[in-house]
């Protein structure tokens, strides 16, 4: 089942184009990471999906138009948009009461079960909780809702490593199953690399990479080249090169260069799968201030 389907999604704020004809399709049971630099249009895309912002183009979420049917849609969609959005004046028990009151799919006992594992007291006001605890509370509320789509917009911003790890662990262990779908944006790419099933890069309002994690792993290879083979490796048209501790690290794309084979690369140095962060830097940081055409092989090969 298709959970989100967008065609030609556009959104402009004045002269700034936030979304420039985005096509996007997310199927049931996927965990999609939407990765992009600041101002790339990630949040705008999520806000359009959540019915929080008006857009041009075609967009269906669970078969509904999010802009006109937000309240019905929110029975099946949850989102944690920013850790700051829980009302600071509210008590934890009031938050439980309220969500239980208005949400037909909320399981209060389940939320209380999650909260019992934390240091959060029901009588506490949200303003008295630490940033990490507020996120835990929000996650407990959201995980107790039997929703089909969960949207996370920078859910772990400003949290320490332990909270971040715990956040994704409980999401995977206690919440995710094949009937649910998660879309997440984050700058802490290393946290989600092993969580995602699909990866999407967005830059200047356009999707520049859209692949599953299996594709990602088979398509991109990173080689730490032995100094004597650098010239030979460069001849194989890497999409990116960087220097670390005097060694050259070259990133190759199978799709852009079909003749590559792993054996050949292994002869030049140590081959491994790049991290999402490395690919992100290779694809986006190398094109500052101009249209993403400098590394034609990478960007055009990826934009589909």
């Amino acid at each position: 089942m298709t959970v989100v389907e967008a065609r030609g999604l556009r959104k402009a704020f004045g002269t700034t184009i936030a979304l420039d004809g985005v096509n996007l399709r997310v199927d049931e049971g996927r965990i999609l990471g939407l990765i992009g630099p600041n101002g790339a249009g990630k949040s705008t895309a999520l806000n359009a999906i959540l019915g929080l912002t008006l857009y041009q183009g075609e967009l269906r979420v669970l078969g509904r138009d999010p802009w006109t049917e937000r309240d019905q849609l929110m029975r099946d969609v949850c989102f944690i948009s920013d850790v700051a959005v829980l009302p600071r004046w509210m008590r934890v028990s009031q938050a439980l009461d309220y969500v239980a009151g208005v949400h037909p799919r909320f399981d209060r006992a389940k939320a209380e079960g999650f909260l019992a594992k934390t240091d959060i007291r029901p009588a506490s006001k949200i303003r008295e909780l630490s940033k990490g605890m507020v996120t835990q509370l929000h996650l407990a509320l959201v995980m107790a809702i039997d929703a089909k789509l969960l949207v996370l917009d920078e859910p772990t911003l400003g949290l320490d490593l332990l909270y971040r790890k715990q956040f994704y662990d409980s999401l995977l262990n206690d919440y995710f199953d094949r009937s649910r779908t998660i879309i997440v944006t984050t700058h802490q790419v290393e946290d989600v690399q092993h969580v995602l099933t699909d990866l999407m890069f967005i830059n200047r309002g356009r999707i520049v990479l859209d692949c599953s994690m299996e594709e990602f792993e088979s398509r991109y290879l990173e080689v730490t080249v032995h100094p004597e083979h650098v010239a030979a490796a460069r001849a194989l048209r890497p999409i990116h090169e960087r220097q670390t501790l005097g060694r050259s690290i070259l990133l190759f794309d199978h799709v852009a260069n079909q003749k590559l084979d792993r054996q050949q690369l292994a002869g030049l140095g140590d081959v491994r799968t790049p991290s999402i962060a490395d690919l992100f830097v290779a694809m986006l940081a190398s094109t500052p201030g101009s249209s993403p055409g400098n590394h034609a092989g990478a960007t055009q090969g990826a934009a589909r």
Binding site: W67, R70, Q72, M74, D82, R88, W89, V102
Partner: protein, 314 residues
């Protein structure tokens, strides 16, 4: 036959079959109103404090009660009744004015605060429509506050009468006087007065609600200055003050619209005790001012609902 035997046992056993549809309409509304009361405790605290302050003053005034009751005996019955009704009327007025002020400030913040503290994103992440949310906020000045005023005033006035009775019994003046102004009649008139007041002021509240959803900052100035500016321009340009008197009428005109302020003999009725005979619901309900005001209120409300769909954190 078959369909009947299926349908009959189901309906009593399975009331949930109907309940969710009915529930889903009223439950979010109920919880949204409760939410407003959690967030804005001044809605009930302020009128209660006003009642407590009045009670405190009244307790002190009880010292002079026997003396003033003796002085009352010299007056004619009509004046006696007005003098006796005065403390109760003042108590009601103080609480009503407090509720009005609370309502004004509540409305100015209702759709602004949720954008200022970014919690609007949380509220919008729940299956509650913009209509339900705005209606729940509108119900605070239009329904909750008037009911609270009534619910606080009635026991307060009753307590005042009881205390007066005790004091007068102990001083040997007699007990009839505190019960002089008919209890039930006063409650009926104040219920009518509160209803009239809220209908008359509805456009003010709804205008403030709209401004709170529209303005990015300084909601009070946006709400108050434009009408005043229009009135000033009219006065400077044309030396007339239709807008000015319109605004004044909107604030205070309810009394003239809803009560006969002169009795049959043409004698002005004292505002401290208005008998049932002076209520003019027919005239009130047929006054164009009321209906124009309500149309304006409805337009503001509809605009506020529509606007909330576009609203984001500030």
């Amino acid at each position: 036959m078959n369909t009947q035997s299926n349908a009959v046992p189901e309906s009593p056993l399975d009331p949930q079959g109907f309940a969710p549809a009915a529930l889903s309409a009223t439950r979010p509304m109920y919880w949204s109103v409760r939410r407003e009361l959690w967030e804005n405790r001044s809605i009930y605290i302020a009128p209660l404090v006003a009642a407590a302050v009045y009670m405190f003053g009244f307790l002190i005034s009880l010292i002079w009660l026997p003396r003033s009751m003796r002085a009352l005996a010299a007056l004619d019955p009509a004046h006696q009744r007005i003098e006796l009704a005065m403390p109760y009327a003042h108590a009601g007025m103080l609480i009503t004015v407090t509720a009005f002020i609370v309502g004004i400030f509540y409305c100015l913040d209702a759709l602004h605060g949720e954008r200022r503290d970014r919690s609007i994103l949380f509220w919008k992440s729940l299956p509650v429509s913009d209509l339900t949310t705005v209606l729940s906020k509108a119900s605070i000045p239009l329904v909750v506050l008037p009911l609270l005023v009534f619910a606080i005033t009635v026991p307060l006035q009753l307590l005042m009468r009881l205390l007066s009775t005790v004091v007068l019994l102990m001083s040997g003046v007699g007990t009839a006087t505190p019960w002089g102004p008919p209890l039930f009649e006063m409650q009926l008139v104040s219920l009518y007065g509160l209803t009239v007041l809220v209908l008359w002021h509805a456009p003010i509240y709804m205008w403030l609600l709209l401004v709170s959803g529209w303005a990015r900052r300084a909601t009070f100035l946006w709400a108050v200055l434009p009408p005043l500016a229009i009135a000033a321009v009219e006065y400077i340009a044309f030396h007339t003050s239709y807008i000015g008197s319109l605004l004044q009428d909107r604030l205070f005109g309810f009394a003239a619209a809803a009560f006969d302020l002169k009795d049959k003999a043409g004698v002005p009725v004292d505002g401290h005790f208005i008998p049932l005979t002076q209520l003019a619901p027919g005239r009130f309900l047929s006054s164009p001012s009321l209906w124009l005001g309500l149309v304006f209120a409805a337009l503001c409300l509809a605009a506020a609902v529509r606007l909330r769909r576009y609203r984001e954190p500030l």
